[in-house]
Structure formats: C-alpha cells, structure tokens
C-alpha cells in the first residue's frame, strides 16, 4: 500500500445535510482541479433535506486514476454524530481536523493520527452576527484551514468564490473573510503545509468536471430529442433538470419565443412511459429518466413498446434497491431487470456508460438505436456516475452527425405503396418499416399489443404469432454489432485471468488491474458497453482460464447474464461483488481478486 504523498491522497469532509457544506466542498475540489491536479469527487449523502450525516470525499490523484482509493488521509470532522465512524475510517498516519470550539477528548483514542482542532464555530460566532451565516461561514472557514494545510492557491479560491457569488457580489467579502479566519488560524497554530499536500501541475488542461446526468441531458439535446417525460425520482431528476435548462437556453425560437420541445412531468412512471411511447410512435425523439423503482412500474408499457415495436429510450440511474432501498446510494442492481423487463419473452438493448463522457455519447447512441431497431433502449447509469462530478476530456460534437431515424416511410414513398404492412420484413434485416400518423392515406396501420401477424393484423394463430416474435429475437440479436463495442486493457504478457466489468466500476477496476499486474498477476480486462453482447465477449471469456466479473450488486447479475447469453460456463466466471452502496474502490477489487486466487489456488 502506498502512503499519502504530494498530489496523491484522500480528503473527506463529514458534515450535516442542509448546512450549506456542499458548495464549500465543491469549492475545495474545484480549487485542486484548477491547480492542474486531477481529482475524483464522491458525494455520499442521505435521503433527507436537512439534519442527517453527509460526506464528501475528494481523491487527489496526479496520476489521473478515475476510481476511489478506499482510504482517507485527511478527515474534516464537522459532524459530532459521526465522529466515532469518521475517526475509525482515518488511515494510520492520517490527520483529523475538527471544530475545537468544544473539546473532543475521544480523539485521543487514536494515537496513530494527528488531531488538529480549529475553533471554527467560535471564530465565526465572533465574526458574524446572523445565525444562518454563522453556520454557512463555518464551512468557508474549514475551507480556509484546509487551504493552509494543503497549500491550496488562495488566488484560485478567491476566483472561484467570485464566480460562485457572481449574482450576489456583496456576499464575497464575508465569505473570503471566513476563508481567511480558518487559513490564518491554521498557519499560526500548525506546521503548514502537511507532508501530503497539493502542488500545482498541468494535468487538467482540456478537462472539465461534470456529472453524468448533466452530460446525458446534453446528449439528449445534441441527439435531437424533442420530447421528455418523467416522474421525479432520485437520482435521475437532474437528467430532466439539465434537459430543461439546456432546452430553455438552446431550443426556444429567437423570433417567436416558442419552444421546439416539450417536457411533461408525469403523474407516475407508468404515465411517463406511456407519454414517451406515444410521442415516439408519432415521430418525436423521446426519452424518460428514471431509476429502478420506475422501471418496475414501467414494465408493462416496456413490453408493449417491445412487442408493438415503438422506439423508447429509458435512462435508468440506478440506486440501491429492492423496494425503496437506499435511494441516495449507488449500485448496479438493475442489470437483469433492464435486460428482460416486462412479462413474456422480452429482451432489450442496454447501454452501460462508465463516465460522463460516455453518458453524453451513449445518450445519442440510445436515441439512434431505439429508432433504428424500433424498440426500448436502456441507458444504465448509476448515482456514482450520474450525480458526482467527474473529470473528463471536454465534450466534443461532430457537426456532421445525422440522427438515425430508422425506417420511416415518407409521403412520397407511401404514394407507391399499394398496401402497407407494418410488420413485414421486406429486406431481411429483421426490421420492418414504420409510418407516422398523418403522413399519407396509404400509411395507416393499427398498433396493437395484442397478438398480431407480420401484416399487422390481429391473430391468435400460433404459427403467425411465432413468426413475429422470432423476427423480434433476430432483430435484437442483430443489435449486438450496433451497440458500443467492448473496450479492453490487456496485460503486457500472457494472462490466464480475465476481468469483466461494466459502468462505474471501470476506474477502480483499471487501477486494481494495473496493481495486480505490477505485483506479478497479469490480468486482461474487458469492459462491456452494450447488451446484447457481441462475439468479442464470448471470445474474451474463452481466451482465459478464469474470468473475474466485478459488479456492484449482491446477486452477480452481470455474471448471470453472461452465463445466460454467452457460451461461458458458470465455473469459468468468478464473482467479485460490492454492494454496500458506496462507490467501488480499487483496494476492494485488488484484495478480492488476490484473495480469490489464494483461496482457489488458481494461480
């Protein structure tokens, strides 16, 4: 294990929800980012508006790792309710900073750490008169103290504070005063900076800090979505918030002031599903953001869209289930649900973005694939990707992009059609042309979720029914080469072990893989990005004697899907499961794989 060092350590702030600490913590992270040092930020928050414990973790990683570390080196303990837990989490040799307005003798129970007391409340109560601002300024005061300890650039902090209060300029001096209080106290009373600290670098040029939900919303705008419907649910709400914000900025006709989009807040997820199916059937690019509970409710309509072949785009920002579960904690627990959502024989196209950059790209992919294959497409993200700010390369757009609207017959094409048959595959690609209402008298057809034959007529005849659902299966299979291809990271030499993961596990898995290889265990890594699985997935599994499947759920859902949908046997696959609700860290992955190798003697 490496110890903390310059530009390589983790700081964590423990606060109380609703005390305004989020902006102070964002300020700390952004300061480090603007100093040119890569960061990984994780907000661990409660399902609550005010009063419950919340944490913000910032990993400072000049090497640019994308996952969590798993240790904490500087703990800013601002919440007496969680002192015990926060104290225990600190790595040996770590530093704990707390509000020493009231003495806390329990910190003396850890002789292996350094405890620094700053009388934050006392200083702020003296300097500020209004009760609420005393609470808020306490946050800025710990920012100041941390800045001194980590040698953060005060000019960068000042610049960020000025941007933060650009609309309320008169708040700037008070906030900077609070920063100075903490900073000066630390300088005067402790030996600053710490051994592990931040040193300006140039590793963040061309990068942005953005959360996955905002990036997905931008993807919907750039992908040409014009209709969105949703029922508010944590953690997906910010997808629609983002879409609404960017549409208001970018999609209102300058002359008429009229909107070129429509957003409807539905009465529940069933309605949200019906709304987007209706809009898509009528030719609008439509989507709904939701989370696992929403998918449960939408399932009947998902089956309808699958069987009647209507495009449907669902953003599932996964949270910890079943039932209400832990709505603000992260998991990959809807893998099986989304692969086969709804009753009867159903199977869907699923995309697995791993970071906000892929959220942007795959939102566009999802819109294209849904229309091309005339079927539901799931975009399977999670809280970690969706609600944390990630450092990624600045998003770019190819102006030559043309949306893939799939086979939609125009009025001119329908003019020559004698009789249009909605479900007739005329060219062997398993996809039948569709028509939009109102286009042409020759284009009428009846959309039905009841049994239908290839001509679109009602049927209860077995062979006619089978013919249609067999085509649906072939259509789905053919999507394997259309979903984003898997990406691999191979060991330098021959590796007996493989490693498979999806989505937000990527950063931690890549770091663990590199460390395993460095310690003499070469491992090849494949990150799957879409379902149905391409042949590459099968080949990858068979090229290794054992494959570790790392995922964030209890039931090894991805592993199960691999057993069901590839020729892999269950014996070839070894589950590595993380389902506490916290984002995955590399130490867990590395330790789990090392342990599995030792226990099974498979090295």
């Amino acid at each position: 294990m490496t110890g903390p060092s310059v530009n390589d350590f983790v700081l964590k702030v423990a606060t109380v929800n609703g005390t305004g600490s989020a902006s102070a913590n964002g300020l700390l992270m952004k300061t480090i980012f603007r100093m040119g040092v890569p960061v990984v930020g994780k907000n661990v928050f409660p399902s609550n508006i005010q009063g419950l414990p919340t944490w913000y973790e910032v990993r400072v990683t000049e090497d640019g790792h994308a996952g969590r570390d798993g240790q904490v080196h500087l703990m800013i303990a601002m919440n007496p309710e969680t002192y015990e837990q926060d104290l225990a989490e600190l790595a040996p040799g770590g530093v704990l900073l707390y509000d020493s307005t009231w003495p806390r003798p329990q910190f003396m129970s850890r002789p292996d750490i350094t405890v620094l007391g700053v009388p934050l409340s006392g200083m702020c109560n003296e300097a500020f008169t209004v009760a609420r601002s005393r609470i808020l300024m306490k946050n800025m005061a710990y920012v100041g103290a941390v800045a001194a300890l980590l040698e953060l650039d005060l000019d960068v902090i000042t610049g960020l504070v000025e941007e933060m209060f650009a609309g309320k300029k008169k708040l700037i001096p008070a906030n900077m005063k609070a920063v100075a209080l903490g900073h000066d106290y630390a300088k005067e009373n402790f030996s600053c900076p710490l051994d592990f600290r931040v040193r300006a670098a140039n590793k963040t040029a061309g990068k942005v800090m953005i959360d996955g939900n905002t990036a997905a919303a931008l993807g919907c705008v750039y992908g040409g979505a014009t209709f969105g419907a949703w029922y508010p649910i944590t953690p997906s709400t910010s997808v629609m918030d983002g879409f609404a914000k960017y549409c208001a900025e970018l999609r209102v006709d300058a002359e008429t002031g009229k909107n070129k989009y429509c957003i409807i807040q539905a009465e529940d997820e069933l309605a949200a599903a019906g709304l987007i199916i209706g809009a898509a059937w009528n030719g609008a690019r439509a989507f709904t953001p939701t989370s696992g509970p929403g998918i449960s409710l939408m399932s009947e309509l998902i089956g309808f869209a699958y069987y009647s072949e209507v495009p449907m785009v669902l953003f599932d920002i996964q949270r910890v289930g079943p039932s209400t579960g832990m709505p603000t904690r992260t998991q990959q627990c809807d893998i099986q649900l989304c692969a086969y959502a709804s009753h009867g024989d159903t199977r869907h196209i699923v995309l697995y973005p791993a970071n906000p950059a892929e959220c942007f790209d795959m939102a566009v992919n999802a819109l294209d694939l849904a229309e091309r294959f005339q079927t539901p497409v799931f975009f399977l993200s999670d809280i970690d990707i969706g609600m944390n700010d990630w450092m990624i390369d600045e998003l770019t757009w190819d102006d030559t992009y043309v949306p893939d609207r799939g086979k939609v017959l125009t009025a001119a094409e329908l003019e020559d059609v004698e009789k249009f048959h909605r479900y007739l595959d005329v060219d062997g690609d398993h996809i039948a042309a569709r028509t939009l209402p109102g286009t042409h008298p020759n284009g009428a057809y009846f959309l039905r979720g009841s049994g239908h034959n290839k001509y679109g007529g009602y049927t209860e005849k077995g062979p006619e029914y089978q013919e249609v659902v067999d085509r649906l299966y072939s259509k789905w299979q053919s999507a394997a080469s259309a979903v984003p291809a898997p990406v691999t990271e191979m060991a330098k030499g021959k590796a007996n072990f493989g490693l498979i993961a999806i989505g937000s596990s990527d950063g931690a898995v890549r770091e663990a893989r590199a460390r395993l290889e460095a310690s003499g265990v070469p491992v090849d890594y494949m990150r799957i990005r879409g379902f149905p699985f391409s042949d590459d997935v099968d080949a990858f599994i068979h090229a290794h004697s054992q494959v570790f499947v790392v995922e964030q759920n209890r039931d090894a859902q991805l592993l199960g899907l691999l057993v069901a949908e590839t020729s892999a046997t269950k014996e070839q696959l070894i589950p590595v499961l993380h389902y506490s609700g916290e984002p995955l860290d590399y130490r867990f992955v590395e330790a789990s794989i090392s342990e599995a190798i030792k226990v099974r003697k498979i090295a």
Binding site: K258, E267, L270, D399, G443
Partner: protein
C-alpha cells in the same frame, strides 16, 4: 375475436362530404362485439361525426386502452392510424402522441373499467393537462370481457346479472371531469344518435380535452332488470339538458332556435358550438352550478345528458407548454443541434 374486413360498397347517389368521401369511407373492420352492444352504435356515431366534419381519415388518430370499448377503434376509420395500447394507459399514450403533432385530430375510446378503475389516474391527469383530444368513455357499469364484474361506475343498488348488489359509491366521470378541470364535458346515450353525433362533432372541434360519457349498455352482462345501465333504465331516467351543434366557420348561422334558448360558443377555428338549452335552468358555462345540478340529478336517479360544461378560455396543453404550431416531428435536426462551438462555450461552467 378476429376482425373481419368489411367490403366497401358505394351506392348510387350516395351523399358525399366536402372531401368527396361517402359515409362508408369512414368505416373500419367489422365489429366482433355482441349483437345489440351499445358500443357499436357509438362507433357508428363516431364514424358519422368524422364524415360530417369532413376530416381526412389519415389525419385522424384513434387510441384506446383495453376492453370491449377499446376494441372499437378498429371498427371505424380504417384509413387512420390507430393504437390499441395498454389497459388504463391510453391517456398517457394519447398525450405523448398529441404532443408530437398537434395538427392531427385525436380521438380516444375507452370504457368505464379502463377509465375509472385501472386508468383513473391517467384520465384525471390528461384532463388536468387539457390535452387537445376527444375522449369517449363508453360506460356500461360492468366488465364484459371478464364476464360481468361490477365496474367503478356501477350505481349503489344496481344488481349484477347473477344477483349481487353493488354497495360501493360510483365514480361519476362527469363530476370527476368537472372537478379536475376538463374544458368540455358531455354525457349521452348510445341509443340517442340525434344527440350523440353533434356532441361528438363539437367535442372533436373543441380545442382542449373533451370528455363524453356515453351510457352504452352491455347486452350480455348488464341489460337486465335491476341494472341502472340497461337500455330500459336509461330510457326511463334520461334527461336532456343542453343540445350542442357544431357550426363550421364557413357555414351561415341559421337562427333555428328561439333566441333566448341558444348560446353560441366561439371556437378557436372560427367555428361555433351552438348550445340549445332543453332545460332552461341549466347553464353549461357555470362550473359551480353545473356541479351542483349534476350532484342533485344523481340523487334523484336522473341521467342528465347533453353538453354539460364548456370552457373555451382554458389554454390547451400545447399553448400552456408554449410550443410551436409546427409538429415536433417536423422540426429539422439542423434547428435542434446547437453545434460544436456552442458545446465548447457552454462547458465553461465545468472548468
């Protein structure tokens, strides 16, 4: 259960509408409902209304949920797109479809089970949104396809075919619609074509959500003595309050009725709905009074029919959402793509 193609036969000297289409051009597949089903009369009335309004068949959209009534969307306007969706979920599908293209005419067909039990929430919210569509609620108080269970519109004291008595309060779609803000509310009877056809026409032309609750008896499971949704019971307690006639913009308005009894309501397309008061005490533009009267007629078993409420001033969903007239599905992508330069500049806030 299979639907049959009905041959189209054009008769000599058959009257044609403004598009040169005959009434038969608005037909669909042959009905597979029971002989004498009220729904078939409603289907005929809907087809006639579209014919008389000279709506191009392919510019109409028919949507339905699940149930006997929902099947009827295949029995008229075979040249229109239709969608037989999911039980109780037609309103959301219709709302999404209407949002994508406001230039088409939308008609939803549903029943009392589809609308008032499994789909009650969706119906209420479509009315709140004032989606521009006509929603036909073919109301027979019973589940037909599953063989005769009471629906949520069954009246207290009404008996089932096998003898059970309903003791739960009914949901009255008209009262519901009034309370949640529908802007056009009517009630009629499948056996009263004279009232129903003009009412459907007015509902189709009204800009906003139009609900017509049509008593449409189920001959197989709810047409016996003791049922309050039977033909006999409906005829006995039928009370006409306000007759509605749609007058297109171009037509000359004839003073067919006594001046004091008619009330013209201006529509957005320049046409009018002429309201003829058959009950002098009823004012279909006074929401509170209408509600009071509807409640009191329930108490005396009176089936109050006609156009029971209209409000042309409420903006429909498109207006409220400040949407362009142009359908969403016709906006070229070039107008939707903000471009790569803009993507670069808007990421300033993420630095």
């Amino acid at each position: 259960m299979t639907s049959f193609v009905k041959p189209k036969i054009r008769r000599k000297n058959e009257p044609l509408n403004a598009l040169g289409l005959a009434r038969g051009d608005y037909d669909g597949a042959m009905s597979t409902l029971c002989a004498g089903c009220g729904h078939d009369s409603v289907t005929a009335a809907m087809a006639r209304a579209f014919y008389e309004l000279s709506v191009e068949p392919h510019r109409a959209v028919k949507v339905s949920g699940i149930g006997c009534s929902s099947k009827t969307t295949t029995y008229f306007l075979s040249d229109a797109h239709g969608a037989n969706t999911v039980h109780g979920r037609m309103p959301s599908f219709a709302t999404g479809a209407a949002a994508a293209n406001s230039a088409l005419t939308y008609i939803g067909v549903s029943g009392d089970g589809d609308s008032l039990s499994i789909g009650l929430g969706q119906l209420a919210h479509a009315m709140r949104r004032n989606v521009n569509m006509l929603y036909m609620l073919e109301n027979n108080g019973v589940y037909g396809l599953t063989k005769g269970q009471f629906s949520a519109s069954a009246d207290i004291g009404s008996t089932a075919k096998k003898g059970a008595t309903n003791d739960q309060a009914p949901i009255d779609p008209v009262a519901l619609a009034l309370s949640v803000g529908a802007s056009f509310i009517g009630r009629s009877f499948s056996g009263d074509r004279e009232q129903l056809v003009p009412l459907i026409k007015a509902g189709l032309m009204h800009k906003g959500f139009a609900l017509i609750d049509v008593i449409s008896p189920c001959v197989s499971f709810n047409d016996h003595k003791g049922s309050t949704k039977s033909y006999a019971h409906t005829y006995e307690y039928y009370h006409k309050a306000v007759h509605a006639d749609y007058v297109p913009p171009s037509a000359e308005i004839k003073a067919a009725y006594d001046e004091g009894d008619t009330l013209p309501v201006e529509l957005h397309d320049g046409g009018k709905i002429n309201l003829r008061k058959l009950d002098k005490d009823y004012d279909p533009t006074d929401r509170a009074a209408a509600f009071s009267r509807i409640m009191s007629s329930q108490d005396k078993d009176e089936i109050l029919t006609g156009l029971l409420y209209i409000d042309q001033s409420r903006p429909d969903m498109h207006a409220r959402e400040n949407m362009e007239e142009r359908p969403l599905n016709e906006i070229p992508y070039a107008e939707l793509n903000p471009g790569s330069d803009r993507l670069k500049s808007l990421q300033q806030e993420f630095r």
